[in-house]
């Protein structure tokens, strides 16, 4: 590792404040927001920073999330570095401009303080909102710790604005568990972040600019003329940007480790996997408790490891195939539901990756932590035991609902 020149200050704060600190260090030109539980304190921290003069930016509180993203589209087309945060019903209200943003290739950063989706009425954490938008064309990264939220917000700008990517990024911070979870956090100094993040590189290709007059997003497609092939060209370009992001995300995480001394896995983290016979697959903040359960099982002689998915979009297929090739059974723990498949979404996609390993290893879908429920070490111990049973032939259809008997 090269010499670390960063001089951090240490604070104790919740994940929403850590996200706000990361945003402030990234020096956005415009922030547009609308408060919604459990994201609201993130907006409050940003507002406080602007009011006290520690964050020099235009902060617009809009009349709703649809206006939030529409305003940011204009700001990005004018060349501004932009930020917003939302979740759950707010994300649903934002959906129309949200799905247009990646097609416009506007490199925004949005923190989703993830929340389960009503109905039943809920205001608590869960990843259903993020998972519903997993194919909206945005890059999606799920954080494990409060520190990782702060670090990933800053890294997200570098990934989004990279000229081989040029796509918006959602940084997913588990509602309640990370958003309101208070821990020790190292805050990098501004000069080091300034050296890490280039100045905004947003609208070099599409712009509201009198010196470069252009029609933005004209009608494209249809059944005749140049329509079909033109539309395909843009879709292929979008997919190419997503695939390029797999490389760029790893490069940016490696540079972050060199500059700031914290090494987060960019795509997939392998935990105690090399000599493992079977493994859990996790995503987001649940991973901490899962690692404790893995450690406890190993003390009892179980050869179990863990595969953590950080980047879910683009799906890190090669990294998942590498990790899955090391084990003979997996239990995949989701914090959301894939209604159409009667399983969790990460499980569903892990099946696709298992196919690409060329080995049909047994896999179990576990669903837990819905609507604010906790996934404890005991739940993970159960998941580990059931995955060990799958290893010796006890295959199950349908998901295991971890909180069903809580």
């Amino acid at each position: 590792m090269s010499e670390v020149t960063n001089f951090p200050r240490v604070v104790v704060c919740e994940g929403n404040e850590a996200a706000a600190i990361g945003v402030a260090l990234s020096r956005p030109d415009i922030i547009a927001v609308y408060p919604i539980t459990p994201q609201s304190s993130l907006v409050e921290h940003l507002s406080q920073m602007v009011a006290s003069g520690t964050l020099q930016t235009d902060l617009m509180q809009m009349e709703g999330e649809h206006s939030v993203m529409s305003a940011l589209q204009g700001a990005a087309l004018a060349g501004g570095r932009t930020f917003t945060a939302t979740c759950g019903p707010g994300l649903a209200f934002m959906f129309e401009p949200f799905i247009r943003t990646p097609g416009l290739r506007l490199p925004m950063v949005c923190v989703l303080v993830t929340r389960d989706v009503l109905s039943p009425q809920t205001v608590w954490g869960g990843q259903q909102d993020a998972m519903i938008t997993r194919d909206a064309g945005w890059i999606q990264m799920y954080c494990e710790t409060v520190q990782e939220v702060l670090d990933t917000v800053i890294m997200a700008y570098k990934i989004a604005e990279h000229r081989d990517v040029v796509l918006p990024v959602t940084v997913c911070s588990d509602g309640n568990y990370l958003g309101f979870g208070v821990t020790r956090v190292e805050v990098p100094d501004q000069a080091s972040v300034d050296a890490f993040l280039p100045s905004p590189d947003v609208n070099w290709h599409v712009a509201l600019d009198p010196d470069r007059p252009m029609g933005v997003d004209p009608l494209t497609g249809g059944a005749r003329g140049i329509g079909p092939r033109t539309f395909v060209r843009y879709r292929k370009g979008h997919c190419r940007g997503m695939q390029n992001a797999l490389r760029v995300i790893e490069e940016v995480h490696a540079e972050w480790a060199d500059r700031f001394g914290r090494r987060h896995a960019g795509l997939v983290e392998e935990y105690k996997l090399d000599d493992a016979k079977y493994a859990l697959v996790t995503i987001g903040s649940m991973t901490g408790a899962a690692k404790n359960a893995i450690d406890a099982a190993r003390e009892k002689g179980e050869r179990v490891g863990l595969i953590k998915v950080k980047t879910f979009r683009p799906f890190p297929l090669a990294a998942m195939v590498t990790a899955l090739s090391k084990v003979d059974a997996v239990g995949v723990v989701d914090r959301a539901v894939a209604f159409g498949w009667n399983c969790g979404p990460v499980f569903q996609e892990t099946l696709g990756a298992i196919y690409r390993t060329g080995r049909g290893i047994p896999a179990i879908s576990f669903i837990g932590g819905l609507s604010g429920a906790d996934i404890t070490e005991d739940h993970f111990a159960r998941a580990i035991a059931m995955t060990a049973q799958a290893l010796v032939g006890d295959r199950r259809d349908g998901p295991i609902w971890l909180n069903e008997s809580d």
């Binding site: 097609g103 416009l104 290739r105 506007l106 040029v166 070099w204 290709h205 599409v206 009198p210 010196d211 470069r212 007059p213 252009m214 029609g215 933005v216 997003d217 004209p218 494209t220 033109t230 060209r233 843009y234 292929k236 370009g237 190419r240």
Partner: protein
Amino acid sequence: MRRQSHDMFNASAIPDDLSSIATVLDPMLPGDWRSMRPVVDREKCVKCAVCWLYCPAQCVVEKPRWFDFDLAVCKGCGVCAFECPHGAITMIEEAA
């Protein structure tokens, strides 16, 4: 091709698979897709200008002895024929 008021910049350096942008103006006037067109009976037209008043596309043009239509702009809605107090306007189908 009609030009915009500004000269367009050279966009050839921008990758053509990022955002969909247009640097050439395509007017796509209603005359390109109209299915019916108005025809004036010059004997019946008294230049009362009711058609001029009602036309939503503002395509009515004045001739020495009658009113006529700019067929590049007319969208063929038929409001003029419906409103003409003298029955001087007939809608006919565009040739296929």
